[in-house]
């Protein structure tokens, strides 16, 4: 059977980077109807591979391409991107950057209009595509007002309106909340199983793709490291680690047990499979230990009294929020998109002031303080480091905040030196932040805020968009700072990250706080969390399934439970 996609000896280097190959000797065949997931760390060549499938590489990016890529019988080097677009749809990571139209209908129609189809055919295809992705928004509605998951489904609709045989998706769920991720993955699953569309998806989260993917391709340094059925590859822990991909939590638990000789056979991919084997393994229950001091013994550093907030002529975003943050806490703010998490976080350093109630930062009312004054106490790191970084060198970036605070030259120099030590990686401070990878840019942005010496650090989605290794690096940096006594508040959608690092989780919905407690307390409330579009970490589900005496939601806790700390 002729494969739908055939890649032979593909090597590629971008323009002006002739010596640095983004892809090296790639050989891959994909049959019609497959659902292929591609995973690997940032810079491993996944996105370049996607662009090679629809001809953007080399037609738009230039560079040097060796080897051959055939898609639907067409050689991509000989065909133009518009002619390949009839066969291959592309969906990119950032949903907003690919919105072409100012209405849902206009956006979905853009592709078919470019194919010069008659207007009735364009309308027919648009209607069908929107129904297929189950996007029932008003066709005249601005796509900017849709949720993240809806925007990404609109991008998929725009791709399928051109009736391609293959849809290539470059990390489409990386910036979505759990609900959005689920919407997108379920849509792709339907397109594959019901319409037979071949799917090639770049995705770092093996947990997300396992229920759908028929094949997994692991990439490393521009090469294909290995390819096979997902269950088979997950058992090859060393290869997964070399590719810089995070193992699913269930497999991490089993892997931890296998390393201590307590797990027989291959690693599981489902909770059922794991539960069946764990039931046969003896456990060593221990009394639960609190890793932090009791809250009442600490100093309150941030206090919100009945805080409400609304933008002019709009519905309230926050509704009578009462919350205290105490010195030394690591708090995770969670909730669905639009719950008010970021709005609440922006009240902590005075970027927003309440329309009712008050926010006290070390007893100072934010309504009577300038953001620049509060920056000495509360540092705020934005989600996208590109919104923050502008200087020509890392050292200048680190010095920027302290200079704004009017510090003396010697103090600024000390802050820069300390910041460079924090970032690590042997940086001397002369590098241009613009040319660093995402993880390092994030670390520079965090260090540049820390340079002002705040007592509380608020971070909006610190690890979103980063690959597993980068996320680990950012989170262990934050964990070190927390151990040194810094109070940390993060806004996140990542349940594993919250369970693994935070000692307190605050869950919001529709501008109100729904839950507030330790990770074990919060993730135990499964039904309530579901109403906030949050699914507990798989370990929490496994813990419930096994009816363990102590509920747990961290991988390490569960491994310890079954090994007794061996």
């Amino acid at each position: 059977m002729t494969p739908l996609i055939e890649i032979r000896n593909l090597s590629y280097s971008y323009r002006r980077q002739k010596q640095q190959f983004a892809l090296r000797s790639i050989n891959l065949e994909i049959q019609e109807g497959e659902f292929v997931a591609v995973a690997g760390r940032a810079g491993s060549g996944k996105s370049t591979l996607c662009y090679a499938l629809n001809g953007l590489v080399p037609h738009s990016f230039g560079g040097t391409l060796e080897g051959e890529v055939f898609v639907c019988g067409l050689e991509t080097r000989r065909e133009s991107v518009p002619s390949l677009a009839r066969h291959v749809g592309l969906v990119m990571q950032n949903a907003e950057s690919q919105l072409v139209g100012l209405s849902v209908e206009e956006d979905a129609a853009f592709g078919p209009e470019n194919l010069n189809l008659p207007t009735h055919e364009v309308a027919l295809r648009v209607g069908q595509a929107l129904r297929t992705v189950r996007l029932d928004a008003d066709p005249g509605r601005s796509p900017w007002t849709l949720s993240g998951g809806q925007k990404q489904r609109l991008s998929i609709a725009a791709a399928i309106a051109m009736r391609p045989q293959v849809i290539v998706l470059d990390n489409p769920t990386a910036e979505l909340d759990p609900m959005g991720k689920e919407e997108v993955m379920a849509t792709l699953g339907r397109l594959n199983s019901e319409l037979g569309i071949t799917i090639v998806i770049v995705n770092q989260e093996l947990e997300e793709i396992l229920p759908y993917a028929t094949r997994l391709v692991l990439m490393n340094d521009g090469r294909i490291l290995c390819t096979g059925q997902p269950a088979e590859l997950i058992d090859r822990v060393e290869d997964v680690r070399r590719a810089g991909v995070r193992l699913p939590e269930i497999a991490q638990v089993a892997g931890g047990l296998r390393a201590r000789g307590c797990w027989p056979g291959s690693l599981p991919v489902t909770i059922d499979e794991a539960a069946r084997k764990l039931e046969k393994i003896p456990s060593f229950p221990r009394p639960a230990q609190s890793s932090t001091a009791p809250r009442s013994s600490r100093e309150t550093i941030l206090r919100m009294d009945a805080v409400s907030f609304s933008y002019p002529r709009e519905a309230p975003v926050l509704r009578e929020i009462t919350l205290t943050v105490e010195r030394g806490e690591f708090v995770a703010l969670m909730g669905p998109n639009g719950a008010g998490k970021t709005t609440l976080a922006k009240h902590m350093n005075g970027l927003l002031v309440p329309t009712a109630g008050r926010v006290l930062v070390r007893e100072r009312d934010t309504r009577n303080a300038r953001v620049a004054e509060l920056a000495k106490t509360v540092g705020y790191v934005f989600q996208n480091p590109d919104h923050q970084l502008f200087a020509r060198t890392i050292a200048e970036e680190l010095a920027f905040g302290p200079r704004n605070l009017g510090w003396a030259k010697a103090e600024v120099e000390t802050a820069v030196k300390r910041g460079l030590e924090h970032i690590g990686g042997g940086h001397q401070g002369e590098e241009d932040p613009f040319f660093l990878g995402l993880a390092e840019r994030k670390l520079v942005s965090i260090a540049s805020v820390l340079a002002m010496g705040p007592e509380v650090l608020v971070l909006d989605e610190p690890a979103t968009g980063a690959d597993h290794e980068a996320a680990l690096r950012i989170m262990s940096y934050l964990s070190d700072l927390h151990r040194q006594g810094l109070t940390i508040v993060i806004v996140t959608h990542d349940v594993s990250l919250s369970a693994g690092y935070a000692d307190r989780i605050v869950v919001m919905r529709s501008g109100s706080i729904i839950l507030d407690g330790t990770p074990n307390q919060v993730f135990h409330k499964r039904e309530l969390l579901r109403t906030c579009s949050i699914l507990p970490p798989p370990v929490a589900e496994l813990s419930e399934r096994l009816c363990l005496p102590d509920f747990m939601c961290r991988v390490d806790d569960m491994v310890e439970h079954f090994t007794g700390g061996r």
């Binding site: 677009a85 592309l90 139209g101 207007t119 725009a158 620049a372 919104h387 920027f400 540049s448 805020v449």
Partner: protein, 266 residues
């Protein structure tokens, strides 16, 4: 100045977008070569009436175009100040004489700015991006140019959001844009201009990739779904604009429609 199309049931559905673009051209041409203050007032009132006819709130439109209105009022005041020693004195405010040339020439400039601004906002706030592109294409403007106009309009809300996020990110690092001397303030603005330019380049580059991946080829034939024929009301509008234009042209040729000399002479 904000330009974001709203789906208004009034003007946007009533008129073909080509007529709206021709109307914009009509306001511009009429206000360019007619100088009589009363005629300019009449055209300004027509422009304001189209705002209301488009189902838009005059207050919202004024808010969206506040920078342009500020420029119009500032120009009027400057004309009054600069021409304080010429022509008939209408009013004396201490040492400042308000003269007829200052008032009427200033009014001509202010009315033109405000009229064109109102017409522009009335058209673009009631016309979708897609309709504008279709209209330009049907008016024989090249596809690349029509697309550039459409994409520029589409980028405005995104760049505004980026601008707001960057300002907040820098304020969190203790930047106070409104404080300090002129030079210090200018230096502070680099902190948001550089990231904004870099983000604009990234957004534009991503968008061009997304468009190409959806088969966009500026030199190929494409369908414009919003394309529709002229209705009777469109033809009536075109006829009205054509007739008033011809009338204005003949009036100017015969010496009417200019600034009345007796209004400004000493």
């Amino acid at each position: 100045m904000a330009v974001a199309a709203v789906h208004s049931p009034a003007m946007s559905r009533a008129l073909d977008p080509r007529v709206k673009i021709l109307y914009l051209l009509w306001v511009f041409v009429m206000m360019s070569f007619l100088m009589h203050p009363l005629v300019l007032l009449a055209i300004l009132l027509v422009a304001i009436a189209t705002v209301r006819a488009g189902g838009l709130s005059l207050w919202d439109v004024m808010k969206a175009g506040r920078f342009g209105l500020f420029v119009a009022i500032a120009s009027w005041i400057l004309w009054i100040v600069f021409l304080r020693s010429q022509g008939t004195v209408l009013l004396s405010l201490g040492p400042l004489h308000v003269t007829a040339p200052g008032v009427f020439n200033g009014w001509s400039v202010a009315a033109r700015i405000a009229g064109i601004l109102f017409a522009f906002l009335a058209v673009f706030q009631t016309t979708t991006n897609r309709a504008v592109m279709t209209a330009l294409y049907r008016l024989r403007v090249s596809v690349p140019f029509a697309m550039v106009v459409g994409i520029t309009l589409r980028l405005i809300p995104q760049l505004r959001a980026e601008h707001a996020a960057i300002l907040e990110a820098q304020r969190s690092r203790a930047v106070e844009f409104g404080r300090g001397g002129l030079l210090a303030r200018m230096r502070k603005h680099i902190a948001y201009i550089v990231p904004l330019i870099l983000r604009a380049l990234k957004i534009t580059s991503d968008l061009s990739l997304a468009m190409e991946a959806r088969a966009f080829d500026p030199y190929a034939r494409r369908t414009f779904s919003e394309d529709r024929g002229f209705a009777a009301r469109d033809l009536v509008f075109i006829a009205l604009m054509g007739l008033t234009f011809l009338a204005a042209l003949f009036a100017r040729v015969w010496g009417f429609g200019g600034m009345p000399v007796r209004w400004i002479a000493k």
